[in-house]
């Protein structure tokens, strides 16, 4: 019994250290964001919350000139949401359709095509960022949401996950649907999509977080302030802080950081059940 207690204590200690190690920086960022610029400049990072929470966040989100020259924090939040959602939804749609074609339409190139798609996993966006920019600029889509999202929505990971899932769906379901007079499109919409519900949710969540955290692509793509995402905004605010002669507004930079981490955290917290279900089980 005593031995067991020790084991419990040890494992818990290790876990707690891990939690502290990972969450402490976030806490310090939050605590610091609630202090005034003067306090931070005089005393450095703060561990305990201060009294400036409301004014700082209000200014960061809703006051013109609060964080950027003209754009509001809330606008950047909206841009980030559009990018995150567009990125995730686009990826799910494209990769589901690709996987559907690869698994259910037995054309000769299905397997080679799948492996080519799969190999693009080895090529991150950074490798093709110049040509992609050239294409988007040629289409006149610079500084638009479409130009920001469309080049990113092909997804090898998503295609792979959906392919594996579709392969596990029994053939008899397709045959029953064919006898029931379902068209290729009907089978996809009526049977496959509902069956993939949890899978779709899991991929949506992962991709939303990835899309939300995109940095390099939006940085290159957006030149106008009103198209900045939060992640870009954080980078820019430090630059503005460094350039200007006035008192550095560190508390607002920290506020933006906290705002930028909140949505992905919320999404994962709220949907974690779906997330786990989608990755470990499926209703068939």
């Amino acid at each position: 019994m005593k031995q067991l207690n020790w084991r419990v204590i040890t494992t818990h200690t290790i876990c707690i250290i891990g939690v502290i190690f990972m969450s402490l920086p976030v806490w310090i960022a939050f605590a610091t964001s609630t202090h005034s610029a003067e306090t931070i400049l005089r005393n450095g990072l703060q561990f305990w919350p201060g009294s400036d929470f409301l004014p700082t966040y209000h200014e960061a989100l809703f006051v013109e000139g609060g964080v950027m020259k003209s754009v509001l924090g809330i606008t950047m939040l909206k841009n980030s949401l559009i990018l995150g959602l567009g990125f995730a939804i686009g990826k799910v749609i494209i990769s589901m359709l690709a996987a559907y074609a690869i698994v259910y339409f037995r054309f000769r190139l299905a397997l080679p095509l799948f492996w080519i798609i799969f190999m693009t996993l080895l090529l991150p966006l950074e490798v093709r960022i110049i040509p992609s920019y050239e294409v988007v600029s040629g289409l006149g889509l610079l500084d638009t949401h479409a130009g920001l999202i469309i080049p990113l929505i092909a997804s090898a990971t998503g295609t792979f996950f959906f392919r594996q899932f579709f392969l596990s769906v029994p053939d008899e379901l397709l045959e029953a649907a064919r006898l029931d007079g379902a068209t290729a499109w009907g089978f996809f919409i009526d049977i496959l999509v509902p069956l993939s519900k949890t899978m779709i949710a899991a991929i949506l969540i992962i991709m939303f977080v990835v899309g939300w955290n995109q940095y390099l692509w939006p940085l290159i793509m957006t030149t106008k302030e009103e198209n900045y995402t939060l992640v870009i905004g954080i980078k820019q605010i430090y630059q503005i802080l460094a350039d200007g002669g006035e008192l550095p507004q560190y508390q607002k930079a920290f506020a933006l950081t906290i705002l930028a981490t909140l949505p992905p955290v919320l999404v994962v917290l709220v949907f974690q059940n779906w997330f786990v279900k989608g990755l470990v089980e499926s209703e068939k």
Binding site: E172, A176, L179, D180, A182, D190, E283
Partner: protein
């Protein structure tokens, strides 16, 4: 009410494997046909070709005199019940049953009426709003049948529908399927490897072996008059007793045994004598000496298994007989029984070709 006609139907897979090698068959309107055979014999492939789930390599498939080789499964107006039910797991029972009708663009009121009617017939009316995962195996199988029934198809196709059920339920469902088919009078093709199911359900039975129809006819006809060794050994439970033998002009010779009562058989080839377990009888002057090995008590009758002393062996295997007798017959193990048989009902086959000679 439709007839189905197969003319020299063949199926060759791209890798060269021949699954079906020339099948001719006419199925009358309202008939219940069972394809029976060992696994891998091509019976399911044949069924799936009628359904349109497998392409036909050559030959013709006709429903009501209409050539349907290249007609899509949905337009063939057939309904199929699968072994693993293949219910749409995310739809309710009602959704499962109405999906096919919805795709055909029937008005909602009519769909509801048909589904309710079919559900009542199958006694699943209480489950209409449940998901398949909340149902037992037997109930799922009923839903799968309901999905087939509501379509009012020309032909019902069953692909080993009872294999996933436990033994008791299988017997119940078997009777229910038969009753349903009688009542609806729809032409049906049923695939199974279970010969009891085949015997009890079929109007006519087609024994499939190696991609060909070995023999087709009423179950009792196939039992009494099998055309080949394969049919004789496949139909009937317990299996027919087989004794390797040769003919010397007057007697069948098997090892030390000399059996009279046979004539007009070829002397040059190896033969097989087939005697059904219930054609054997206790007989002090009979030719067989059975050394009792195992006695199985089935209630109303006993099955006595044992080696036949002095008989020609098939390779290394001792020739074994099964003797079906009454429940009060309980010989000691390793004792011997003297057995005779009804030579009128004994069958003789050519061992090489399997052809029946007598």
């Amino acid at each position: 009410m439709s007839k189905v006609q197969l003319t020299n139907v063949r199926k060759t897979y791209p890798n060269g494997a021949e699954a079906v090698r020339g099948v001719d068959m006419e199925i009358e309107s309202g008939e219940f046909i069972v394809f029976v055979g060992p696994s891998g014999c091509g019976k399911s492939t044949l069924l799936r070709m009628v359904a349109g789930l497998e392409s036909v390599t050559s030959g013709q498939v006709l429903i009501d005199d209409r050539l349907i080789n290249d007609v899509s499964p949905a337009e063939r107006d057939v309904a199929m019940v699968f072994q693993n039910y293949a219910l749409y797991p995310h739809m309710t029972v009602r959704g499962n049953m109405s999906y096919g009708l919805k795709n055909r663009g029937l008005p909602k009121a009519e769909i509801d009426q048909k589904v309710t009617e079919a559900a009542k017939m199958l006694r699943i009316g209480d489950f209409l709003d449940r998901q398949p995962s909340q149902l037992s195996g037997g109930q799922r199988q009923r839903v799968a049948m309901g999905r087939a029934i509501v379509r009012e198809p020309k032909v019902f196709l069953f692909d080993e529908p009872l294999s996933n059920l436990d033994a008791k339920l299988r017997v119940q469902m078997r009777i229910e399927i038969k009753r349903l088919q009688r009542r609806m009078n729809v032409t049906s093709i049923y695939v199974t490897h279970d010969q009891t199911e085949a015997m009890t359900l079929a109007d006519r039975l087609a024994v499939v072996n190696d991609g060909k129809i070995e023999q087709m006819g009423s179950p009792i006809d196939l039992y009494n008059n099998p055309a080949t060794l394969f049919v004789a050994s496949f139909i009937g439970s317990p299996q027919v007793n087989l004794l390797p033998a040769t003919f010397d002009g007057q007697h069948l010779i098997s090892g030390d045994l000399k059996l009279s009562g046979f004539g007009d058989l070829p002397t040059s080839t190896e033969l097989v004598l087939g005697i059904r377990p219930d054609e054997l009888r206790l007989d002090e002057s009979g030719p067989f000496l059975l050394r009792v090995d195992i006695v199985e008590q089935h209630g109303s009758d006993n099955l006595i298994y044992g080696g036949v002393l002095g008989a020609m062996n098939d390779g290394d295997q001792e020739t074994e007989f099964c003797f079906k007798t009454s429940q009060d017959m309980l010989p000691d193990l390793d004792s011997t029984l003297k057995l005779g048989f009804n030579d009128e009902r004994a069958m003789v086959f050519n061992k090489v070709t399997g052809e029946r000679l007598r």
